[in-house]
């Protein structure tokens, strides 16, 4: 599928949004991820959110680190500039890009390996700096590109594809984002588009650092010996991998849940994920309550999804730095260079 060109033709009656674009205009290249990968569902949700928000695709800058998730910016918003940076260090590059031109919308896409391990520091500091962006972590708990090592968000006691038991506690990026001062914090599930699209729309529209952790099951590497297809499947699958790097496709996992509902989702490896959608009466304006709520349900074995916290009046790094309204990359010598006369005065003061 990687080498197939995407057909350019599309139905002439496709609906356009207020800025005159169809959904197709928000697509990118054909994904090279495994069929059924949750990340592709997230890409689809980003496409949907941007279309619905009437964003001009070229006014978005999409940045990522390295890894499966970080490949995805190539698969949406083909008319935007994209930047695959280095592993875990997307936040700093995005920060610099944002400082250079505050007029664009910044979409940071990362993975759990990218953000919770090598990039934990950069994730933390981007949150505390209040860099205006929608920071989406596509969280599957494993390293896909290097074939199945644990990431730092993997649950304690979970088993890798090779049967290794993870003894470390997981990093909870949502809890960290809340603590570090992110002004928009949510958690979604890749298969719950009805919830995810509005979450992303809210993040893009937010005036400060917006973070969404999206649980996104990995088709290929979240097996463990308890799985119905465990040992035989792994052997067979490994053979396939060593020959042609083929990973069998699965159906995309989707859920449909109403506000306040609890749904058990069976993942590709047979394990259950218990999702709880936030109740309609939940107040997302209280950071401390959000942290307590999330932790309480975590102890019950549930993963809370939805918009956990938002500060609608949040400001960003530009506000803190009192930066010019005009983008810094648009300023010319007249605005930047003090000139020869000022230099002569300066020279005089140095004698």
């Amino acid at each position: 599928m990687t080498y197939l060109a995407k057909p350019r033709l599309h139905h002439p009656t496709l609906a356009t949004n207020k800025v005159g674009y169809t959904r197709r205009d928000y697509e990118g290249k054909i994904s090279t991820l495994c069929a059924g990968c949750g990340h592709d569902s997230i890409s689809a949700a980003i496409i949907e959110a941007c279309w619905e928000l009437d964003i001009e695709p070229h006014r978005v800058a999409k940045l990522s680190g390295i890894g499966c998730s970080s490949k995805t910016p190539d698969y949406f918003l083909g008319a935007s500039h994209g930047f695959n940076t280095v592993h875990g260090r997307m936040p700093s590059v995005l920060t610099g890009a944002n400082l250079a031109n505050r007029d664009l919308l910044y979409l940071g896409v990362s993975g759990d390996g990218d953000s919770a391990s090598i990039g934990l520091g950069q994730f933390a500091h981007a949150m505390r700096r209040g860099v205006r962006m929608a920071y989406i972590v596509e969280n599957n708990g494993v390293y896909g590109l290097t074939k199945g090592q644990f990431s730092a968000t993997a649950d304690q006691g979970s088993k890798s594809k090779k049967g290794v038991v993870n003894t470390d506690s997981p990093v909870d990026l949502v809890a960290m984002a809340l603590q570090l001062g992110a002004s928009y914090v949510g958690r979604g599930f890749s298969g719950n588009k009805a919830q995810l699209v509005p979450l992303i729309k809210g993040a893009i529209s937010h005036g400060g650092a917006a973070f969404i952790d999206v649980i996104s099951p990995c088709v290929a590497f979240n097996n463990h010996p308890g799985s119905t297809k465990s040992y035989d499947y792994v052997r067979e699958h490994n053979e396939a991998v060593s020959r042609i790097d083929f990973i069998s496709g699965r159906e995309e996992i989707t859920v449909d849940m109403g506000p306040g509902e609890v749904v058990d989702v069976r993942q590709h490896d047979g394990t259950l994920l218990r999702l709880r959608s936030l109740h309609p009466g939940y107040d997302p304006g209280d950071r401390h309550a959000a942290m307590a709520h999330m932790q309480r349900h975590q102890e019950m074995g549930e993963v809370v999804t939805g918009l956990l916290f938002v500060d609608p009046l949040a400001s960003d790094l530009h506000t803190a730095l009192n930066t010019s309204d005009r983008p810094l990359n648009a300023l010319g010598p007249a605005e930047l260079c003090p000139g020869a006369e000022a230099l002569a005065r300066l020279n005089a003061s140095l004698r």
């Binding site: 500039h81 695959n84 280095v86 936040p91 590059v93 920060t95 990359n329 140095l350």
Partner: protein
């Protein structure tokens, strides 16, 4: 010991201490006018820095060039610190070596400070607490002054007693050496403009020192005499100059992480931006400065800003370069303008954090994994720090690549007398090949990594430029000329060879080396660069006086322009003078120009102090005499 009159009135210290001078029989004290080295030995944190700088500036105001150097430990306070001032009417701005007068204010370093004095030199010390004769040397002149006692008699606040002790000794030295106190007073006036109370108390302290010296001490053989040798030169440190160059060069984004000796670059950038770049109408800033969480983030921000069309820089030192290397490789391969100011210090590892070296040359020239080559600029003084910082921003944009300004602690943190900063208002910034929406609309073929002009430099577009044309995906992986992901060998080779071609183009754009021909025709040459410059110039004169003639070439950039190749071709043997252990510049010359290493003779100074003319003269002189004695035409290198 010949006792002299005690001070009088309110200034009079009570108790047993007294001013005294000691001169050993048979020792001829050094006599010198406008040509000596005075060194202040202080305790870090005692507030001596501004007093010592004041001393140097006063001499400068009398028209006599000075070359001061801070020599300080990697410590907050309590440890020794020195400030050395070379008074040099001849204008030699390198370190000379040796000390003619020691102002010994640190008991901890007494023995070492004393030992450093040249025979016939002068020792000035606080005689409040008498010292036994065994604490002095026979071949020097000792001047004792009860500084603590004087200050204790006048000031009650302990901090004032400490701080004004420094001003009091400046006052005494002014009288002893012939520095006009009015000049110092005028400097105070400028420093404490609008702070009348501070001004008055400093002037009072100055006069305490002056009066005491006039009444109790004899003038020295070392004298400062008014001259007219400073001209319109300015006195400034390289870090401030580099920061100002970034302001003039149009840098709008600075991201940095504190590290000695580079921190003051970012701090000065902040200061100058606050002065020059605040919109008077709105109060908004035309700059963004972020103190990042580490060096990785600081270079990451610079990469992001450069990618998005802002001129951006970071300032760091060796350990920071190590941490930044991955991003530097990304910027090289993805072709993003990045300016890095590397204020070098002693390495490897934490090395000597507060000492100077030129030891990051190879680390910067080839930073990151894979095949990389980076543009390096080598300023010789603050003037060039300014000029080349601005030029680095232009070059980075033009070449779409990292550009390093390779300064060091010696230039960066010491005030140096140099030509005034100059700026031509008619010069526009070189933003390089950035394709506009109009050009894209007009149908210009845009292939991000296509070499359309034959110089190896492709065109780029900035994010957000055009709704349908011009967007591309930037990545550190291989791509084709249209920025499409590719792992095809030919695409990779096209890219890598184009990057080489771009590097060759860089050699035509970087500052050219400066040639100083010898007075007589010679087959010997010398190559040097950066902060070695002033010591080298003095050494060339001294060598010439000994009949050793050398054509001298000061490198100002890597890649090496053709003129470097020609210089090497013209000389049978070339000394390469540098401040590191492994002859890194020599290695770069050998590696890049494929030259016979035997023709390049190492002259290496790497103890962390700035190289001196004495050292260069000794090293080159010895080598030349040795080879002349052996009669060998093609000499071997010294071991």
């Amino acid at each position: 010991m010949s006792a002299v009159r005690p001070p009088e009135g309110a200034k009079a210290p009570s108790g047993g201490s007294e001013a005294h001078e000691v001169a050993s029989v048979g020792v001829i004290p050094i006599e010198a006018v406008n040509d000596f080295v005075i060194k202040f030995a202080n305790v870090n944190g005692s507030g001596s820095a501004s007093a010592n700088e004041l001393f140097a500036k006063a001499i400068l105001r009398m028209g006599v060039p000075v070359s001061p150097r801070n020599i300080f430990p990697s410590n907050i306070q309590g440890l020794p610190t020195w400030y050395e001032v070379r008074v040099t009417e001849a204008g030699h701005l390198g370190r000379r070596g040796g000390t003619d007068m020691m102002v010994a204010m640190n008991p901890q370093t007494w023995d070492a400070d004393l030992a450093e004095l040249e025979p016939g030199g002068y020792l000035f010390y606080d005689s409040t607490r008498p010292l036994p004769p065994s604490k002095f040397r026979d071949d020097i002149r000792v001047i004792g002054m009860p500084l603590t006692e004087i200050c204790n008699a006048v000031y009650h606040d302990p901090r004032q007693r400490q701080l004004f002790k420094n001003i009091v000794y400046v006052g005494a030295l002014a009288i002893l050496l012939g520095i006009e106190p009015e000049v110092v007073e005028k400097l105070f006036g400028e420093q404490y403009k609008g702070k009348e109370k501070l001004l008055a108390s400093n002037v009072q302290a100055l006069h305490l020192g002056c009066d005491f010296a006039r009444e109790n001490l004899e003038p020295l053989g070392l004298r400062v005499r008014r001259a007219d040798k400073v001209g319109n030169r300015i006195f400034v440190d390289g870090n401030s100059a580099a920061a100002l160059g970034c302001v003039y060069g149009g840098a709008t984004v600075a991201a940095w992480y504190p590290i000695t000796p580079s921190s003051s670059v970012a701090e000065a950038f902040q200061k100058y931006c606050t002065k020059f770049r605040v919109d008077p109408a709105t109060g908004q800033h035309r700059f963004a400065i972020v103190q990042a969480e580490d060096e990785l983030a600081s270079i990451g921000m610079v990469v992001g800003a450069g990618w998005n069309g802002a001129r951006a820089f970071t300032a760091t030192s060796g350990p920071g370069i190590s941490l930044m290397s991955e991003f530097i490789g990304l910027a090289y391969f993805a072709e993003i303008p990045v300016t890095i100011i590397d204020v070098q210090r002693g390495g490897p590892s934490t090395g000597m954090p507060t000492r100077t070296q030129q030891a990051d040359i190879l680390a910067c020239a080839y930073a990151s994994h894979g095949d990389t080559r980076h543009v390096l600029l080598f300023p010789e003084d603050p003037h060039e720090c300014f000029e080349q910082a601005a030029a680095a921003l232009d070059l980075a944009d033009r070449l779409q690549t990292p550009v390093f300004l390779m300064t060091d602690l010696d230039i960066g943190m010491n005030q140096r007398l140099c030509a005034p900063f100059a700026w031509d208002d008619s010069v526009a910034y070189d933003r390089g090949k950035v394709m506009s929406a109009e050009e894209l609309e007009a149908g210009r073929d845009f292939g991000r990594y296509k070499d359309v002009d034959g110089d190896g430099i492709p065109w780029r577009t900035l994010p957000g430029t055009h709704p349908t044309k011009g967007s591309y995906f930037t990545r550190g992986t291989t791509r084709d000329a249209y920025a499409r992901y590719s792992e095809r060998g030919p695409d990779y080779i096209y890219n890598m060879e184009r990057l080489l071609k771009k590097f060759a183009t860089a050699a035509t754009l970087v500052p050219q080396p400066v040639l100083h021909p010898a007075a007589e025709k010679t087959e010997l040459g010398v190559i040097y660069f950066g902060s070695t410059s002033p010591a080298m110039h003095e050494a060339l004169q001294a060598l010439e006086a000994r009949g050793i003639h050398l054509d001298a070439l000061r490198l100002r950039a890597f890649p090496f322009p053709d003129s470097v190749v020609q210089f090497l071709a013209r000389h049978r043997q070339v000394f390469v003078v540098e401040q590191n252990r492994d002859a890194q510049m020599r290695s770069l010359l050998v590696n890049e120009l494929d030259i016979d290493p035997a023709r390049l003779v190492r002259v290496l100074h790497f103890d962390g102090t700035p190289i001196t003319a004495r050292f260069i003269v000794e090293a080159i002189g010895t080598h030349v005499h040795k080879t002349q004695a052996s009669g060998a035409a093609d000499t071997k290198e010294p071991a």
